[in-house]
Symmetry: C2
Subunit: 455 residues, 2 copies
């Protein structure tokens, strides 16, 4: 029986070219994270369901659950279930699945910090890069498996870390040549606006949801929905609150906000961060940024490319309490997550990345003689003595020259070494530049010297 070769819907393979681009990005991120003293950790792909459940609100339905036991459910379990006549999937699932694939790297981090608190020193600065899984409906550009690159500082309140994260973002986008802005806001300001306008909790919640989707709806619907939320119940004609809200939200500076009655305490952290940002061009103060997640309590930020229509390619914020659910109280922190697939998309759009690791030179030794041994020693010699970063392949078997050049072309080799019977007799070798098609004949003994000097 033949099986259709297909990966599951919603997830994807990476071809060598795509993986090279991914590694290019990951290398930069790892290097920058390390430079700022973040330490790498790892957690398993799956967590206990009691770790994951109750953390993601509505999105809990997007958790992938793993069937108990390696192979099949135990017959007894199935029989017991069936005999119990429970017809409700919600009731049955916990009996047949107790593990789930992680949905993000934040809940695993909280669990990790609580579990290993005695092995860690706080403030704990960690980075983690790994796949996460969400059972979203598969659609273009949105996958069920994707990669998050997270940095978090756990156990520290100082806004120094926001600045550090801005430096990291700045270094990263400069290194990969991407134009982007960090939109930044503070939940404390949003709370202060609510207090100033005497909004109740329900109104605040509704407005935060509305602001979150502002870019996705028309100005008219935004205005209508806002009117509805802020309407004066006694006097429908009175739109004071609406006007005040719009007025405050139009502020473009912190001074503006303070003049309109927002207390200074609510703006102090943001003020400090803006003053210390690595590059004023990088930052966009954005009162309309709230970020949906419930656990943020201070700074929130999102990284958005300037000239690519993709929304955000990263986001994060400050939280007062990450781990108390796991029994570890008073753990402040702040984190930021880079979305790898979206960054890859940007590099693709801007054609920033070319397949071919920048500092590696790719050489192919053509296979023109019977004596494989000589080709093997040739490679060994070059690898051991050349001072360049080389990738060296030997064409696997003696075959037609054009077939070998085809392989060299498809695999983007930079140089071909041509060593046939006549070269062998004369102790010579030809090196051909596969871009310019220039060819040089050398004494075999001079090859490494030539490579070190000329390529």
């Amino acid at each position: 029986m033949k099986i259709k070769p297909a990966n599951p819907k919603g997830v994807k393979d990476l071809l060598p070219r795509e993986m090279a681009r991914r590694n290019y990005i990951l290398d930069k991120l790892r290097e920058i994270f390390s430079k700022y003293a973040y330490q790498n950790i790892q957690t398993p792909a799956f967590e206990r369901l009691d770790t994951l459940m109750g953390k993601y609100g509505e999105d809990e339905k997007l958790l992938f659950k793993i069937l108990n036991s390696g192979e099949y459910l135990h017959d007894e379990t199935v029989q017991t279930l069936l005999k119990s006549e429970i017809y409700d999937a919600k009731e049955i699932t916990p009996k047949i699945a107790t593990k789930g694939l992680r949905y993000d790297l934040t809940v695993p981090l909280a669990r990790y910090v609580a579990q290993h608190q005695n092995d860690l020193s706080f403030p704990f600065k960690r980075f983690q890069i790994g796949a996460v899984w969400r059972a979203d409906r598969p659609q273009k550009g949105r996958f069920q498996e994707f990669t998050q690159c997270d940095i978090d500082i756990v156990g520290s309140k100082t806004n120094l870390h926001e600045i550090e994260i801005l430096y990291i973002i700045n270094d990263f986008i400069q290194e990969i040549g991407l134009k982007a802005k960090v939109h930044i806001n503070d939940r404390k300001i949003f709370d202060a606006i609510g207090q100033l306008l005497k909004l109740d909790d329900s109104q605040k919640k509704q407005i935060s949801i509305l602001i979150d989707k502002k870019e996705k709806i028309s100005a008219e619907s935004y205005s209508n929905e806002l009117t509805e939320i802020l309407a004066n119940e006694k006097d429908f004609e009175d739109n004071t609150k609406f006007n005040n809200f719009i007025d405050i939200m139009n502020s473009t500076t912190i001074d503006d906000l303070i003049q309109k009655g927002i207390p200074k305490e609510a703006t102090e952290s943001l003020q400090f961060i803006l003053e210390n940002a690595p590059n004023p061009e990088l930052i966009q103060f954005d009162l309309h940024l709230v970020r949906g997640l419930d656990y943020y309590t201070g700074t929130v930020f999102e990284l958005k490319p300037i000239d690519i229509n993709i929304g955000s390619i990263g986001g994060g914020g400050r939280y007062d309490d990450l781990t108390s659910l796991f029994g570890l109280e008073r753990m402040n922190g702040i984190g930021f997550s880079f979305g790898l697939e979206r960054i890859e998309f940007c590099l693709d759009q801007k054609e920033i990345f070319e397949f071919k690791s920048s500092n590696m030179i790719r050489i192919i030794i053509l296979h023109l003689i019977e004596n494989t041994k000589e080709l093997i020693s040739l490679r060994k010699n070059i690898l051991e003595n050349a001072s360049k970063n080389l990738i060296i392949d030997i064409y696997p078997e003696k075959s037609k020259l054009d077939k070998q050049f085809q392989y060299a072309d498809k695999n983007k080799f930079d140089y071909a070494l041509i060593y046939g019977d006549s070269e062998q007799k004369q102790g010579k070798i030809n090196i051909k530049n596969l871009k310019t098609f220039q060819q040089e004949t050398l004494n075999l003994d001079d090859l490494t010297k030539f490579i070190n000097k000329n390529i």
Copy 2:
């Protein structure tokens, strides 16, 4: 409600020190794989169950299956199932799970090659590093999630690749300072022995299983089981076959084998490989190595540390046909897989790896003044102008000196920069070596120069 902070049984977290060791190994492997022109690819963590099923024999029960749909089974599915009164888990499972976590990287490779054949050029040399999952009973040193580092060449018959793989192994163990031997054999020789002794298929199968477990059982049980398999049904006293088999299996060279009647054709590949091995010390010709997996048809090898009792830390072999199940015929190939967790174990045993990336120097800027801004610029300046590979942290907030030194100590910093109020006034800075406790006072402007020159 408090939730117990615990990862699922059978999988583990990596602490920063463990992850640093892992990254050290992975960096070496990636570098070496690339040098020999292997290209990196990636496949998703889960595959369709029809891709995975029927490939692993008895071990199929170790596949982790993923429940259909993001959240719960659909109520209708459950109801239909229950009404059908199927009480057998084997019947029910396929109706509620159609995806599974990958069990190795080989079956996904076969699926990948068949699926993307038009985007690849053959011979296709790829490496892939990733977690695989097996629902083994959790036990010491054996995990349900572990990492394989695979290289394969698909679409080529030449034994050049065996030699290439030996070079890769040799480079790798030398780089990480591990003593190990590659045990090597050829399935063709095993087949030839079977033919010479006129063994039937069942005998061959039984012997291959017996040989595979030779190291795990006593010499006596081995001998007894072998006698039983090779007994002459007509004459129980006749142990010719047994003696002949033992005699042949005691051969230590290929010449030995040929003298005992094994045809030269069966030994030619191995002869060629042994002659071209990078280092004769590395290789151990081992007639008792067969490797259980059904798909191997030629060379088989395993990498075993010499002085650490852990069995093999890698293995692989040649296969005639990897992809025909997926509709792509005649794809020869050869592969080798390094077991990351086992290599980590070896490095741990030999205390080869020290926490602290070898070429990174870790500096902490103590936080002794109010003006954070100055500390931030200080770091910025050093990072931009120093020629060394530096990791620089700033202690997050002004606090007691001994608390800050404790943090520096726990996080293995090499140097501390001490810049308090009096240094600030004088334009000086102190740099303290945290190993020797030597301290130098410098002009602030000379700091980078000092770092470049002296640390």
